[in-house]
């Protein structure tokens, strides 16, 4: 493994000592020549989000693959998914916004109404990743994860729109609902058999789900019977909400919605007579909005704003009020807005070292000090821009 160590030596020569604590260890690792994996300054071995703290800020932790597959069948940004496939590992950076929300989640009192957290920031600053980090924490704590990957997907490009069987004024979206139910099942497999339904749901004249059946059955019903899948989603949400509110509940519910501003924006879906569909008329959106209200206890609601998929909003909008609008703000109020800024110096350093370590930066100039400064300037330390630029090198 001499090859790996020559690379390390290069790192030792060119890297500035921002991580002075790990510096000595790095040198030792090179001298001893017994570690098969380079013990890097930008990585931390702490894979449990509950135990991460300020000293791990700026460092990458690897998600154990046992967690990765079930937890994120959906929900990660597309480019990041490709990166995970390329590098064969899923690494999250520990950053202040996610740590802040995790600390609130730890401190919060779950007999009180659910608290709402909102990640906001410029495009590509890491809001979705922070959300996923927080969701990973909840998952490790054994909560039920209700993760909607992008609410914008539910308000646009709908190929099939059925009038709802439950309420004739509303419209169903069977395809989106079934995909989501499938992913939900993957994430919460182990918990679905334990939680039981509290009410009786009648789907058609012949099919119904009785009280006391495991939730898994409800979900399977929704996946197999595509027509009623949107109603299943609604029923699922209602049930989970009611159950987690009860004092004797043995689980907690985290509702993670990415692109929550879609719920109060406009939609591009058109009815057959070419008039636009009002958001209230979509079953999925209607039920999700009910979940967003903090009239239930025993859980938390973590959301992000997203301009990227949103409709009819200017590109430069990133602050909460601009993207949520009046109605959105009034519905979400009171919430805790958490700002997600671009990388700081230390974080940028970490990301750069990570790419170097993974041999993603092949260009010889990228290893020099000047190259690093150039990268920092070109991407203005914006995580997604850095990712895109490094893709060319």
């Amino acid at each position: 493994m001499k090859y790996l160590f020559t690379i390390n030596l290069n790192l030792v020569c060119h890297v500035r000592t921002l991580h002075t604590s790990g510096w000595g260890q790095q040198q030792e690792a090179v001298a001893v020549e017994s570690e098969p994996e380079p013990f890097s300054v930008f990585r931390t071995q702490e894979t449990d989000p509950a135990c991460q703290s300020e000293k791990h800020l700026g460092q990458f932790y690897t998600l154990p693959s046992a967690h990765f597959r079930p937890l994120f069948p959906h929900g990660l940004p597309y480019r990041y998914q490709q990166q995970v496939k390329t590098f064969n590992e899923a690494c999250f950076m520990v950053r202040p916004p996610a740590l802040e929300v995790i600390s609130y989640l730890k401190k919060a009192d779950y007999s009180k109404p659910a608290l709402r957290y909102l990640f906001y920031g410029v495009k590509g600053s890491g809001k979705t990743m922070s959300l996923c980090h927080a969701v990973h924490f909840c998952y490790t704590q054994g909560w039920v994860v209700l993760h909607i990957p992008d609410a914008h997907l539910w308000v646009k490009n709908c190929k099939e729109l059925l009038p709802s069987s439950y309420n004739s004024a509303r419209f169903d979206q069977p395809l989106q609902a079934t995909t989501w139910l499938r992913n939900f099942r993957t994430t919460n497999e182990h918990l679905l058999s334990q939680i039981k339904t509290k009410r009786r749901y009648v789907w058609t004249k012949r099919e119904s789900t009785d009280e006391g059946r495991p939730l898994g059955e409800l979900v399977n019903q929704g996946i197999s019977r595509v027509k009623s899948s949107s109603d299943v989603v609604g029923a699922l949400m209602k049930d989970l909400r009611l159950q987690s509110s009860q004092p004797g509940a043995d689980f907690r519910l985290v509702v993670a919605v990415d692109g929550v501003n879609a719920l109060w924006g406009r939609s591009t879906i058109k009815k057959e007579n070419k008039s636009a569909v009002d958001l209230e008329e979509l079953t999925l959106i209607h039920n999700l909005k009910k979940l967003m209200k903090n009239d239930w206890t025993g859980g938390a609601i973590i959301t992000t704003l997203s301009q990227t998929g949103s409709l009819y909003t200017p590109k430069s909008a990133y602050l909460p009020q601009e993207l949520l609008g009046e109605t959105g703000f009034d519905s979400m109020d009171p919430f805790i807005p958490v700002s997600v800024p671009n990388y700081s110096e230390k974080e940028f350093e970490s990301a750069y070292l990570y790419y170097l370590d993974r041999k993603w930066l092949q260009h010889p100039q990228s290893r020099t000090e000047d190259g690093k400064k150039e990268l920092s300037f070109l991407s203005s330390k914006n995580p997604s821009m850095l990712d895109r630029i490094c893709g060319f090198l």
């Binding site: 609130y104 919060a108 009180k112 009239d295 009020q321 009034d330 109020d333 805790i336 958490v338 700002s339």
Partner: protein, 336 residues
């Protein structure tokens, strides 16, 4: 444009000197000849100078160009005499080494001599400070003295709160009249007028664009009547009517909706309802329903802070600091 047969350009031929006495060669350029009659050189690349036969003694010799005026200008000259009125740029009269134009490859912008770019653009060489001073001195006999007591802006505002501006135009032409002279502009600060809260809001809604928030000045510009005096009367009338109307309250004003409100008021807003709901459910104040619980909750400092932050967020729009303030207030309410 090359023709198919290769042609060579003509150059100076010694025989021409004998044939045409006025022809002389030009040093350094074999494709030009110098005509002694008209004292200029022209190109002969396209053939012998037969064309110039007609110039043979028929035109007056062109006299030499003199020195440009700039060489003879003393440093302390009276510039207003050089450019007394608006005239196009004259390279020979402006003693500045001005260059203008696109620099060709390896070159610099062309000089001012014969530069059409400089002639095309408007110049203000006739409006130097010295010229302005002269104009002012010339206009002084027609003006009255500024009152010495009004030496600061504040005093002017105090004694003369309404300012009326009209413009007179002087030009030479077929008629001395100018239709733009009828425009009258009336400026007044709204703080001078005695308006209560409702009257002020109504006034602002009535005038719309004519009010400037930064300087608190209402500007009424009238030009609908043909004469200045009529416009002035109309402007005064408008001001009076605006003032009286804004004090009146009509019956339909009761239908004012939340969307019409100029400022966000927290009382009765969904935000207040939300936070009250939440606090009641969190049972912060202890058991008991009704007004006193509400009052108690409202009196808490966290709720007041929350109210301030929401009002600021809604009125100012969002920026980083107002969002941070809101965050701190919400955290305090939830004891995080």
């Amino acid at each position: 444009m090359e023709s198919t047969a290769k042609k060579r350009r003509c150059s100076f031929n010694k025989d021409w000197e004998t044939t045409y006495h006025w022809v002389k060669p030009v040093q350094g350029d074999s494709q030009r000849v110098f005509c002694e009659v008209c004292q200029s050189s022209f190109s002969v690349s396209h053939g012998a100078p037969e064309r110039s036969g007609r110039e043979f003694g028929s035109r007056k010799p062109r006299r030499e160009e003199g020195e440009p005026r700039t060489e003879k200008m003393p440093l302390d000259q009276d510039w207003t005499a050089v450019y007394p009125a608006a005239t196009p740029f004259r390279a020979g009269s402006v003693p500045l080494p001005v260059r203008m134009g696109y620099p060709m490859k390896g070159g610099v912008p062309p000089e001012k001599k014969g530069n059409l770019e400089l002639i095309k653009i408007p110049n203000f060489l006739h409006l130097t400070p010295a010229a302005i001073k002269k104009h002012c001195e010339a206009l002084k006999p027609f003006c009255t003295e500024w009152p010495s007591a009004l030496d600061t802006d504040a005093k002017c505002d105090e004694h003369f709160p309404i300012k009326v501006e009209c413009t007179d135009y002087v030009s030479s032409g077929l008629s001395v009249r100018n239709p733009s002279a009828r425009i009258v502009q009336l400026k007044v600060k709204l703080s001078i007028l005695n308006l209560d809260d409702h009257a002020r809001k109504k006034m602002l809604k009535l005038v719309g664009e004519r009010y400037c928030k930064d300087t608190d000045v209402l500007t009424i510009t009238t030009d609908s009547c043909p004469l200045r005096q009529q416009n002035y009367d109309y402007a005064q009338y408008l001001l009076t009517v605006l003032y009286h109307e804004s004090w009146k309250t009509e019956a339909w004003e009761a239908e004012k909706t939340v969307a019409d409100m100029e400022e966000y008021s927290w009382e009765g807003s969904p935000s207040q309802k939300n936070i009250m709901d939440m606090l009641l459910r969190m049972k912060v104040a202890g058991e008991g329903e009704g007004e006193e619980v509400q009052e108690q909750l409202l009196a808490r400092s966290e709720v007041q802070e929350y109210k301030d932050s929401v009002t600021r967020l809604k009125n100012e729009g969002d920026n980083e600091s107002s969002v941070l303030q809101y965050k701190e207030a919400v955290k305090k309410v939830f004891n995080l």
